[in-house]
Amino acid sequence: MDKKITIYINSKEYKVSPNQTIMQAADHLGFHIPRLCYHPKLSIEGACRVCIVEVEGMRNFVASCAYPVSDGMKIHTNTQELRRARRDIVELLVDNHPMDCHTCERDGNCELQRLASSMGIRARHFVGQRKQYGRDLSGQAVIRDPDKCILCGRCVRMCSEIQQVHNLTQAHRGFDTVVMPAYNMPMAESVCTACGQCINVCPTAAFLEKNYTQELFEKLNDPNLIKVAQFAPSVRAAIGEAFGLEAGHNMEGQLVAALRKLGFNYVFDTQFSADLTIMEEATEFLERIQNKGKLPMITSCSSAWMKCMEQFYPDLIENISTCKSPMSMQSALAKTFFAQKIGVDPKKIFSVAAMCCTAKKYEAARPELDVEGMRATDIVVTTREIAWMIKSAGIDFLNIEPETQDHPIGMSSGAGVIFGTTGGVMEASIRTAYELYTGQTLVDIEVESIRGLKGIKEGKVVMDGQEIRVAVAHGLGNACKLLDVVRKDPGRYHFVEIMGCPGGCVGGGGQPYAGVNSIPLDEDALMKRAEALYSIDRAKTIRRSYDNPDIQKLYKEYLQRPGSPIAHKLLHTHYKQKFPQGIIPKEALK
C-alpha cells in the first residue's frame, strides 16, 4: 500500500493515495471536475483545458487530468477566475460550432451541450469565423462532420490507440486543424473498418452512423412488403440505457413487442442464426482439425474485423472461417427458407437488422453476401436508431408487455445469446464442438478463462485427449497484437475469436450514447451489459446450439446437415484482399 499524502481541495484537507492525478483524486472525493478530452481508456491529451484547476504556487492553471497530486498540494476547483476561464474556453468551442442543436442528431445527448449548459454560457461573445468543411457522407456506415468537431482528439486516439486502425489523424494545424483520414480522402475509400468507435467516443456529432430511420419508416408503411426484423444479442442488453435505464437490463421481450408495434410482420432474432453459426463454424473447425486444414481458424462474425483483416492481414484470409456473420445468415434464410415456408415471393421480404454495430451497415452492402441476386439485409439500423424510432413512434418502451420472437427462425439457445460479448462465440463453439467431436456432452459449460474484459484471453479444452488451444481478442488493437503472435507462431492456437469492438458487441459502435454522468465505453457499463447476456444464458434450459429445436428442424427440413452444399451456398462466403488508398499491393513495392 502506498502511503497516503495530504492534499487540500478548496481549503479542505484530504488524505489520498499518491501516484494519481488531481482529477482521479477529486473524483474519489466527490468533486467532479468538468472535462472533455479526457477518457480513461485513452492516452492523456490535456488539450481541451476544461478540467483546469488552480494549484497554489503555480503561475498558470493546470489540467487536472494530467497533473499528479503531491503532498501538501493546495488545489482549488471552483474559484471565480477558474469558472470564468472554463466558461470562456467552452464558449470558444461553442463559438466555433454550428448553431444547429435543434436539428442535430445528438441534441440532448451531446457533451458540449451539457458542458455549455453547466458552465452557464448565456451569450456568444466571440463569434467570428466558423469552420465550414462540409460532411463526408461517402461511408456505408460512418459519416464524418468536421464542422461539429471540437478537436478533443478522442476519435483519433480511439482509432489509433485502441483500434489501431490508424485511419484518422489531425491534419493541418492551429485553427485549421481537421480530423480526417489521410489525404482527406472519403471515408469510403479509406482504411476505416466502420467499427464506429469514433462515434462512441465523440462528444458531439462529428461522427455519426449513416442514418436509415426515415427510409425504414417508409418501408414499414409499405403494405406490399413483408417486413422481417432481427436484432443482435447485445441490442437487448443495452437499449434500455437509451430510455434512461441503468446498464445491464435485458429488454428482449419489450424490444420484440416494440418492433411489432413499429410495423414488422415477423420479429426474429439474430441469436437464432448465432446458433446456426455455431453449427457451421464448429463443423468447419472440426473438419480443419481432422483434415489438417489451415489453423488456427479465426472467427468471422465481426464485420469491422473482416474489413480490418482484408486490408491489413490478407495473409490470414485462409485462416478465416468461411461462415457468414449471424446477421447475414439470418437474412439469407429469411429470403429463402422462410419465404418458401410462408409461400411468398422472396422479393417481397424486406429484411431489417437492428444491430449494436455500425460496421454491419457496411457488411450488408457487400455484394458477395447477396442471395439469389437479392440483397440479403436490406437495412441495418443501430441500437441508437431503433431506440429513436421507438421513441419517435410514441411507443412506451419501458412499460410495454414483453412478447416473444417468431418461429421458425427466432428461437435461440443460451449459446446464441453470449455471442454478444467477448469470448462468447468461442464459448458457444466449444459447447457444440465438444459434443460433435467427442460424442459426449460438455458438463461444465461456462469457460471462465475467456470471459471478462482482459484484452487478450487464452484457454484450452481437452477433447478426447486432444488439447485444443484457443485465444480471444476484443478491440481491433488487441486483435492486431494477437494476430502478430499468430503470424509468428501459427501452431500456438487452434481457434481464435476476434471481435472488433472493445468488450465485443456489447461495446459496439452503434450502442446508446453515454448518459449524463457516464462516459462512453465505461468498463462497468460493458460488464453489466455482458452480465445481462450471461444471465439470460444461465436462465435458459437449452444452452447448447445443437439442442435448439428450431435449428434441428431447419437442418432437417432445409439445410440437410452442417456444411452441406446448400448450407455452403447460403451460409458461407469468401474474402479477398482489399486495397483502400494507402495500402499498396506487395508486388508493387518490389
Binding site: S160, H166, N167, L168, T169, Q170, A171, H172, R173, M180, P181, A182, Y183, V191, Q581, G582, I583, I584, L589
Partner: protein, 165 residues
Amino acid sequence: MVEMAQEKMDELRTFIAACMQKEYSDSYLIAVLHKAQELFGYLPVEVMDEVAQRMNIPTAHLWGVATFYHYFNLKPIGKYVISVCLGTACYVKGATEVLEAIKRELGVEIGQTTADNLFTLHEARCLGACGIAPVIMINDKIYGELDAKKVVALINQYRKTAQVA
C-alpha cells in the same frame, strides 16, 4: 520523364532503406519527407503512400505530419518559389506592402501557384536577413531592401529569364 521519376523513386527507396536500418526508424519520417520533397519538389500522394508502406507508418499519421509542417508542399510548385519574409524586422519595414504588390502582380494568394506554373507564393518566418529588410527569397536567392516597385521589376526579370529559357 517517367524514367526520371523512377530514378528519383529509387533514390528515395535507398534513403528509406538506410533510415530503416537505424534505431527508432519511425523517427526518420520527417527526414524522409524532406528527402522526398528535395527530389520531387513536393509530396505527391503516390510517394507518400510508398513512404508510409516502406516505413511501416500509418498513412494517416504521415498525412498528419506532412500537413502540420509548413515546409512541406502538398501540391506541385512553380518554377520559382517566392518566399516573402514576414518576420518582425521585415514587417516593421514594410513587408506587407511588398507582399501585397506580389499578390497583385501574380494574382495569387499565399500558398498558390500561378496559372503558368512559373511562381509559387509562400510566406516565410524570418529568413535571417533582418539587416536588409524587407527581404524575399526566390528559390535560394535572397533579395533585400525591397519595396513594391522593386519587387514587381524583380518578378518581371524572372519572367523574362523564363521566357528565354
